[in-house]
Structures are given as C-alpha cells and as structure tokens.
C-alpha cells in the first residue's frame, strides 16, 4: 500500500491538500495550473487524491445515516402499517411515523424498526413472550406498546404510541420551569415507574431521551422494557443479558456497571440522577462513574441557579431534605435506596408539604411486617412538652415513664425539673446569646430540637443528672421521626449515667435495657447483643434470676438472636422463663419497660410457634398477647389492626384459606377507613388476598387484585413472585426473587425468610430452565431447612419435596425416590399436601424404574392423602397428583380410567395455570399419548 505522496514531501503536500479540499471540483484545474516552483512537482500527487472522486462523493463519507442495509421509504408496508416519515435513527435501527393501512383504528404510531441482525435468532419467541406483558402496560405516563411482530419480508417491528414531545430536560429549560414544576414532572415519571414495577417490569434505560414531555405537560416514558425485548436471551451470554443493551453509563447505577442484576433499584437510581439534573442542570457525577464522590445538589446550586425560576429560594430549598432525598436515590448500595418508586414519590410529596422526609434517616432500613411499636406506650409528643412547660412537679411524672429506678430520688427532682423547663423555654426565646443565624420563630421544630441537643451538653455541664434527664426526653421526641438520632442521644445519655452512677447502678441497668430495645428496633442486632452480654452478669447480680429485669433481658436477648441460625432451643428456653416471670408479677402500667417486654415476649413466642406450625398454640399465645395489651395500653386502633393482621396470616398458614380471606377483607375495610388505601397494612392485606385467590386457582381474580395494588415494595414483590411461581411463570420471578434474597441477606432480620426465598427461587429457576442454578439453590434451601428449620413442618417438607421433584425432572429417579420416601417418613401418616405430592413423585420415580406395582400403590396413596387433607392448599397440587395417577394407570393398561383423570387434570390446568407453562403442557401431552394408544 503506497502513500499518495513520498514522505519527504509530505508536510507541503498536506498543507496544499488542505487548500485543495476547500475548492470546488471545477476550480481544481485552474488551481493546479497556478501552483509554481517546488509546489508544481506535487501536482500529480495532489491530483491523485483530489481528482479521484469529487467532493460530493467524498462528503458521502460523512453521511450520518444509520445502517442502510434495509432502505425504507415512505409508503412501505410493514405488517399492518404504512410508513409515513422517518423520525429518527440510531445504532440499532430506525424509527418511523406510520399509520395503519388496513381497516383498523386510524391512529398514527411510532414504528420502531430494529435491524434483524441485532436481535439474535430467537427474537420471534422473545417477542411472543414479552409482547403481552409489555402491551398490558397501560398508563397515562407510559408510551404504550401496541404490538410487536414482523412483516412478511421478515422485518421485525414494534408499534408504539407516537409521542409528540421533547426530552424532560429540554422542556424544563425551554419553559424556565420553577423547582416545584420540575418536581411535579418527576412525580409523573415516578407514577409511571411505580405502575410498571408492580408488574415486575423494569425500564432499565431511564434517561432524558426516554422521558418526553408533551406540549400539554404530560410526561411519557418511552421504550419501557424494550431493552429486554430486543436484548439477547441465551445462557452463554448471561452477563450481556443481565446488562441488557448497553445502558447509558451516566444513568446506570454501580451494580449495573459491575454486571449485577437489574432490579427496580436501577430505575430508582436513574430517576434520582434525573431529579438531580432537573434541579441543577448538570449530572451528579462529573466525569462519568469513574470519578469518586458526587458533589450533591446544594453545592451545584450556585453554578446552575440560572436554570430555575425561583432562584432566590433555591439554595435553601435544595439544602436539607431535597438533598437527602437525592442522596437516598443515588446510594451505591441498592437496598439503601427507596425500595419503590412509590416510596420515592411519597417523600417528594412530604417535602412539598414541608413534612419531615424519610430519607433523613441515615441508613434507614425497612421494618418487618410487625406493626407493634414496643416502646411508645402512651407518651405523646405534645403531652411531654405540655408537661414540661406546666410546672416543676410534672418532671416527676416524666421520669417515671422513662426509667423506673430514678423515681426514688424525689428530692432533687423538683429543682431539676424547673431547670429543664427553663432550658426548654429558652430554646424558643429571641435574643439568644449563643448566636445562631436564625430567629427561633423561623426555625422548624426539628431545628429547635437540634439546637437543644447541642446546647444541652454545655448548658448542664455541671448538672449531669439534669442532662441525663433532658437527653431522655430529647431522645423520645427524636424517636418519633428519626430513630437513629434518638439512639445517638440515648447512647450518650447512658454513657453519662454510667459515669455518674457506675455500671451497676439499677437505673443505669434499666437504661441499658431500654437502649438495647431501641437498638433491636433499629435492627442493629450486633450492637444489641454486645450490650446484652456486657450487662448480663450485672443484671443477675443486682436483680436476681426471678426479677423483671432478668425477664426483660431474656426477651431482648431473644429478639437479638432470632436472625441467627440454630438458636431455636435457646429462644424457646428464654421465652418460657421470661413469660413465667412476667406472669408472676403484678405489673402496673407505669412499668413501661416491663410491660413492653412482656408483650414482646408473647409476640416472639407466637412467631416461634407459628414457625413450628403449632397453630393452635400460636393462636392461644396471640390471644394472650391481646388481653395483656388491653390491660396496659389504651386501645389503639392501629394496634388492633396489627393484631387482626397477625391473626389473618396465622389462619392463612394453617390452611384455612376462606377464613383468612374474610379476615383480610375485614382488615381492608378497617384500614381503608383508618389509614387509607396507600397504607402498608391495606396493601399487605390486598396482596395476601391476591395470593389466596391464586392458590384457589382463580387466576383472573388474582391478576385483577395484583393489578390494583399500589406498592412496589419488598413484600409485594415477594408475594407476586410467589404467585408467578405457583402458576408456572417462574421465569419472570427470578430477578425479583434474587433481589429479595440479596436484600434479606443484607438486612438479616428473621433467619428463616432467607431459606424460604431460596426454596421459591430454586423453583423459579427450574421453571426458567436454568438447571445448574436451580440445582444449587434447591439443594441449598433443602439443606438449610434440614439443618435449621423445624422438622416435619410443611415448609421443611415442601423444600425437601421440591428438591426431590427437581431430581426427578432431571432423570435421577433413584435419588428422587429416596428423597420422596424421606418426606413421607417425616410426615408420619398425617395427610398433607407436601406428603401427597411426595407420594405422587414417588409413583413417577417408580414408573421411571419400571416398577409398575409400586407406582400403582404410591399414586393411589397420593390420592388418598390428598382427599384426607383438611388444610386447604394450592389447588395445583391436585393436578400433580392426578397426573401421577393417570400415568400409573396408563402403565397398568387401564387406559379408560387414565384418560378420565388426565382429562380432569388438563382442564383444571388450563383454567388455573398460566398459558404455555409446564403443568398444562404435561397434562395435554399425556392426553395425547393416551389418545394415540387404543
């Protein structure tokens, strides 16, 4: 390959070439002729380059058009559509405006024409699977997918709602939108996200280009889930699949960049980046994800204030809560972000209304389903403040609520209470000598509180008991909205108390117990355990092993270890001892620490019994808890709801599905009235009812109920995922279950949830055909249940049985048979659904080994067990049992009976399972085989 000009002449050649390129073709001849001197001898080289093609052709090099391997023109017919005009092109294909050419609705659509080469060979199957799910997304803020298919010539196409709009960032800039207007737009984005997340659809590629705003100011999210539709789907490129199409790095969360699973948290993150951008006009990460640390909104405010109308208010508005909200969404740790678009939206609303936002809690984590608030017994905020301002003697009443021991020191109390009262009043006064830029009447209550906390250290430097008392109150107030700050204050208080009174002082020990209770509430079990260990010998020494304090210690200890494996025996012992002590004392309602612990110990016992499936005992304990609470705590409708909810879940687990359903119905009605439809308790009840409908086989009702739920949170996803697995659509449940598993391992509140999720996930993976992963997961779950679970319970048997079924599906009949027999042995003749399934599985295993007599016996046994079960169960179990019986009868040559049962199984499967899943396929395959043979 030769250079167009010798190297020694190149510099001059290059300079002349620049000149020549600026000329028109016709002018070149003249120009060549005018070159003289040394330049003249370069003319042949220049001509070689410049005359080879004219500039127009050379300019064709610059053509920016997308791949032209298919050239579409207006008027072309693609499927039922006719192309009108091209509106965009990208690396993956083109987008055209199109309208229906047939008699269908005469609307214009955006027709996306991806290049077939990029879709991979299996795209048709993928389209078929995903299209229904995506087309069902119908929401004002989501650009609807109408249909997906391929033209006769084989051009794939996606017909989407045509959106006339501009990217959200451009829109806000052009309109010079105020901050409030921008937030309102973002909330529309969140509405669309929330809707889709409930249906387990993640967008995966949120960015301004995909968030358009119409001239009417409506937000439309484009390309929802399209990435998944277009992306590759084979196993060997699992990493690519997980990452989907190359996302826009600036909007992709860290876990996506390192190849992790994409969950709703990724969408939340991207929405957070968008929020940041809308507030400040710039992206949070300066040089892409490569840069360490992110300058948050407030520091950018100065630079970019010009973008937003209310510039005067901007720094103050952005400082504080909005910053916290954004920080929450941009957290590198997915579970630390808002768990759902709804939660994100909630906080924005709270910010708009000037209420405290949840994001302020550093390291805020989810609470469990438990609604019982254990340490807030009757002392309302207003009450405390009112008391403190009312007069000196009120201080004594205060103290009594908080720490039992100190009530003994009555003399000093009066003076102290006055001092404290004066302190509190001073917080509100003007002309404050301690400085501070703000006038008290401009400060929020929280700011006043913070001010009080800061001052208390100095103000009561010499009156340590007063400081201790003050911190108790401050802590209590903080606890109503910021538990972590409350904990800090209480820890400090304890520190002071220990210094003042010594480690063994009874009041100090009481405070320690209080602190441990709060630590456990904040799910900091490690710290709670450490503190408990430290005070154990002191408590025994000081109070003795039949004291209330010891009972409290035992209760807190139980709460702090129940997220660890293998603690079952200790827990049982602790609770038995604690409850015995509590019951034997005459408690009165001022002993709030003990009362709270008593109620908790009963609650914990109920959980233990429920896990061991001793349902009658659990119900009894629950009732005892209720009566105990009624003795000491003023009737709180929310506590009552919580009780009902616990009762409902217990009834559900017992298998009394109808009774459970009517309890949930009752909860729905009451909570709708009390706390509204968006409350956690209402939504949880709704979810359970949806699942119950699914278990009953009423798919339509289940789908409808799931459709009305509004949360996208952890419980919702777990329940919906469980439902999907039940109807055979486990493939769609894999990602959410993996996310749930990761979250559970991180948060570690209840040690058995992890293995339950593992069992469900294993099943989902098996349904998805990911056999290696399924094997791993199912075996892990089974081992975990055998090691730490309660033997003989439905949960444990279920896990073993799922493992056995997997082995059977994989053709390992002998191993499967051994497992099935183990399950049957453990169920000890008691009729139950897992046992029936195990017997059915054993029958199939026997058939695989050619042992028809065993198959006959086992399948008949399965039928009997099923009929004798009093518990209600997932109706699909009977389909499995029927199929096993039909297979056995067929092997024995009793074709007519076999056909009869198989037919029943097939019609049930059609009604209750999702289309295209394994169970109906098996049923129909069997019917076909029976039809073929005489």
């Amino acid at each position: 390959m030769a250079l167009p000009c010798p190297p020694e002449d190149w510099p001059r050649f290059s300079a002349l070439l620049d000149q020549g390129l600026g000329l028109k073709h016709a002018e070149l001849e003249t120009w060549f002729a005018e070159l003289d001197g040394d330049d003249a001898h370069l003319v042949p080289f220049l001509a070689g380059v410049l005359l080879g093609a004219d500039n127009a052709e050379t300019a064709a090099f610059l053509r920016q058009s997308a791949l032209a391997s298919e050239d579409f023109v207006p008027g072309d017919r693609i499927g039922p559509y006719a192309l009108v005009a091209r509106i965009g092109a990208g690396g993956m294909g083109e987008v055209w405006r199109a309208r229906r050419a047939d008699d269908g609705p005469k609307r214009e659509v955006a027709l996306k024409l991806p290049h077939a080469a990029f879709l991979g060979p299996a795209y048709k199957r993928r389209f078929a699977r995903e299209r229904d799910v995506l087309a069902a997304l119908s929401h004002p803020n989501i650009a609807q997918l109408y249909e997906a298919g391929a033209s006769i010539e084989g051009h794939p196409f996606l017909a989407l709602e045509l959106v006339e709009g501009v990217p959200i960032t451009s829109y806000c800039q052009a309109q010079a939108s105020s901050l409030a207007q921008r937030i309102a737009l973002l909330r529309q984005v969140l509405a669309g996200l929330s809707y889709a997340h409930q249906r387990l659809i993640v967008h995966r590629d949120i960015k301004p280009g995909n968030v358009l705003v119409t001239p009417e100011g409506r937000v439309k999210l484009l390309d929802f889930g399209i990435a998944k539709l277009l992306g590759p789907a084979d196993d060997e490129d699992a990493l690519l699949t997980q990452m989907g199409r190359a996302a826009t790095p600036a909007y992709a969360p860290p876990e996506q960049l390192s190849g992790g699973a994409i969950t709703v948290a990724a969408d939340i993150y991207a929405a957070g980046v968008l929020l940041f951008e809308l507030c400040t006009g710039a992206r949070p990460f300066v040089a892409g994800p490569l840069a360490e640390g992110a300058p948050l909104a407030s520091s950018r405010a100065d630079a970019k204030a010009a973008c937003i109308k209310d510039t005067r208010d901007l720094p103050r508005q952005l400082r504080g809560d909005l910053d916290s909200i954004i920080a929450c969404t941009l957290s590198p740790d997915p579970p630390a972000r808002y768990l759902s678009a709804t939660a994100f939206d909630d906080d924005l609303e709270r910010w708009q209304r000037g209420l405290p936002v949840r994001a302020r809690r550093i390291g805020w984590r989810t609470r469990t389903q438990k609604f019982v608030r254990r340490n807030r017994l009757g002392v309302a905020l207003a009450g405390v403040l009112a008391l403190s301002l009312a007069g000196g003697t009120a201080g004594i009443a205060w103290q009594a609520h908080r720490a039992e021991g100190e009530a003994r020191r009555a003399e000093a109390q009066a003076a102290r209470a006055t001092a404290i009262k004066d302190f509190m009043i001073a917080l509100f006064e003007a002309g404050d000598p301690h400085g501070g830029a703000k006038h008290p009447d401009e400060m929020t209550a929280r700011e006043l509180l913070d001010r009080g906390a800061d001052r208390a250290e100095k103000a009561f430097a010499r009156d340590v008991p007063a400081k201790i008392e003050l911190f108790a109150t401050l802590g209590q107030i903080y606890d109503t909205f910021d538990s972590d700050r409350a904990l800090k204050v209480w820890s400090r208080r304890l520190e002071l108390a220990r210094q003042l009174h010594g480690d063994d002082d009874p009041a100090v020990l009481h405070d320690s117990l209080d602190l441990v209770e709060s630590l456990a509430q904040s799910i900091d079990y490690q710290a709670a355990r450490t503190e408990l260990d430290r005070i154990r010998p002191k408590i025994i020494l000081r109070f003795g092993t039949d004291s209330l304090e010891w009972a409290r210690w035992l209760t807190e200890r139980t709460d702090a270890i129940r997220n660890l494996h293998g603690m079952r025996d200790e827990i049982d012992r602790n609770l038995a001892a604690a409850i015995k002590i509590f019951a034997s004392h005459q408690l009165d309602k001022t002993q709030t620490g003990s009362v709270s612990a008593y109620v908790s110990s009963l609650y914990l016992l109920e959980i233990q019994q429920a896990d061991a499936e001793q349902f009658e005992a659990a119900l009894k304990t629950l009732r005892e808890m209720r009566t105990t609470m009624a003795r000491f705590i003023p009737d709180d409708p929310l506590e009552r709801l919580d009780y009902l909810y616990t009762l409902a879940t217990l009834t559900e687990r017992q298998g009394k599905l109808d009774a459970a359903d009517s309890l949930y119905d009752s909860i729905e009605r009451q909570s709708e009235h009390l706390v509204g439809r968006l409350s956690q308790v209402y939504q949880s009840a709704l979810l359970h009812r949806a699942l119950l409908a699914g278990l009953r086989g009423d798919r339509d009702r289940a789908q409808a109920l799931f459709g009305t739920t509004k949360t996208g949170g952890g419980l919702a996803r777990r329940i919906y995922a469980a439902y999907l697995v039940a109807i055979g659509r486990g493939a769609d449940a894999v990602a959410p279950l993996q996310a749930a598993l990761a979250a559970t391992r991180q948060q570690a509140q209840d040690e058995d949830i992890e293995r339950r999720i593992e069992a469900t996930l294993g099943e989902a993976l098996a349904q998805d055909g990911k056999n290696a992963e399924a094997r791993n997961m199912l075996r892990t779950a089974r081992d975990a249940f055998l090691r730490w679970g309660v033997p003989g319970t439905a949960a444990t048997l279920g896990a073993e049985e799922r493992w056995a079924n997997f082995l059977l599906d994989q053709g390992e009949a002998a191993a499967a048979a051994a497992e099935f027999r183990a399950v049957l042995a453990q169920s000890q003749g008691a009729p139950s659904a897992p046992a029936a399934r195990a017997a059915a599985g054993l029958a199939l295993a026997a058939l695989a080994s050619g042992d028809m007599r065993s198959a006959d016996a086992s399948s008949a046994d399965a039928l009997r067990r099923l009929q004798a079960t009093t518990q209600e169960y997932d109706v699909r179990v009977r389909i499995d049992v029927w199929l096993a019986r039909a297979e056995a009868l067929r092997a024995l040559g009793r074709a007519a009976e076999a056909r009869d049962i198989a037919r029943r199984a097939a019609s049930a499967a059609d009604a209750e399972d999702a289309a295209g899943t394994a169970q109906p396929a098996r049923a129909h395959a069997l019917l076909a085989r029976l039809a073929a043979s005489p």
């Binding site: 390959m1 167009p4 190297p7 080879g52 791949l67 060979p121 790095p249």
Partner: protein, 178 residues
C-alpha cells in the same frame, strides 16, 4: 501495531480492556452467524460498562477512554478478520462487516478492515491526528461530537479533517493506476 508500543502507551488499561472487547466481539459473532454486522459503538459501550470498575480506569477521562477503546477495537477487528481468513482456507466462508463501513460507503470487501489498518499504519507518522480520527470513527464507531471532544478540536475542524482523511484513504485503497 507493536505490542510493546501499545503497552507503553496504555499500560494496564490495555490488559483490562482488550480481552473484554475481544470476548464481546466473539460472542456477538458467534451468536449471529455468517454475514455478521458488528455494532462497534454498542460493543465499546458494553466493554466500558464491564471494565469501568477497573481501578486503572478511574484515572482516565472519558475522552481518553474513547481513544483507548478505538485502538482496542481496531486490534480486535484485525485479529478477527485474520482469523476468518485463516478459517476460510479451511472452507468456511464468513465475512465480517463493520457497520461503520456501511455508513460511510466504503466498499464492504472482506479485507477492507485489514487494508484500512495498513493504510493507517502508513499514515500514522505523517498525519497522526487523522489516523486517530479514522481509528475512532471507523473502528470505534463513535459519533462526531465524541471524537471532537476526545481529540480536543472543534466540530468544524473535525469535518475538515474527515474530508481529508477520507480523500487520502480513498486514494490509498484504490487499486494502483498503471
């Protein structure tokens, strides 16, 4: 391109990036069968996403990253084309076409990438910026704005450069007259 020259310039980035790109490109080819279109920009984005965790990359600006990536892609494509040619002697006819080639109207002959690579090697010493530009545009498939930012020139300068580079390449790729 010499290995040591590459290493000297890019250091450990190269070690991270090259294997990723190669693996991705292979996977893409394997999936799509004969007459493959390699969507280079997409591949680079994906490689970036995979590699961006690498510590060495933290010190690199996105602009520089583009340059590295283009170099890597060039290497990958050349390697692959050579492999295909070697395979073909055994009988399996497959062609690798770069989508950028289709965009720019360069005849999509099978060995075009090789010939462009050769041409760039010749051009590199004399017109380094143009060579870089072609590398990023043709092998990397990046957009004009990105390339301009990476090279530190204006869009206008870039267009003029592109005109010049295209003209030179065209001349070099055509069969010799006479």
């Amino acid at each position: 391109m010499q290995d040591d020259a590459r290493d000297a310039e890019f250091g450990s980035i190269w070690k991270e990036l090259y294997p990723e790109l190669k693996q991705l490109a292979r996977a893409r080819l394997r999936r799509s069968g004969p007459n493959t279109l390699l969507e280079t920009a997409g591949l680079v984005n994906e490689a970036y996403l995979r590699v961006s965790g690498a510590a060495a990359l933290r010190a690199v600006s996105p602009e520089k990253f583009l340059a590295y990536a283009a170099r890597a892609m060039r290497s990958v494509v050349i390697d692959m084309v050579r492999e295909r040619q070697a395979l073909r002697r055994g009988g399996d006819l497959q062609s690798v076409t770069l989508d950028t080639a289709i965009i720019d109207g360069v005849p999509a002959a099978e060995d075009t990438p090789l010939r462009i690579d050769e041409a760039l090697q010749e051009l590199a010493a004399l017109e380094p910026r143009l060579a870089r530009l072609v590398e990023m545009r043709y092998f990397g498939g990046f957009a004009e704005a990105e390339i301009a930012a990476s090279l530190g020139v204006t869009d206008r300068t870039l267009r003029r450069d592109w005109l010049k580079a295209s003209a030179l390449l065209r001349a070099m790729l055509q069969p010799q007259a006479g």
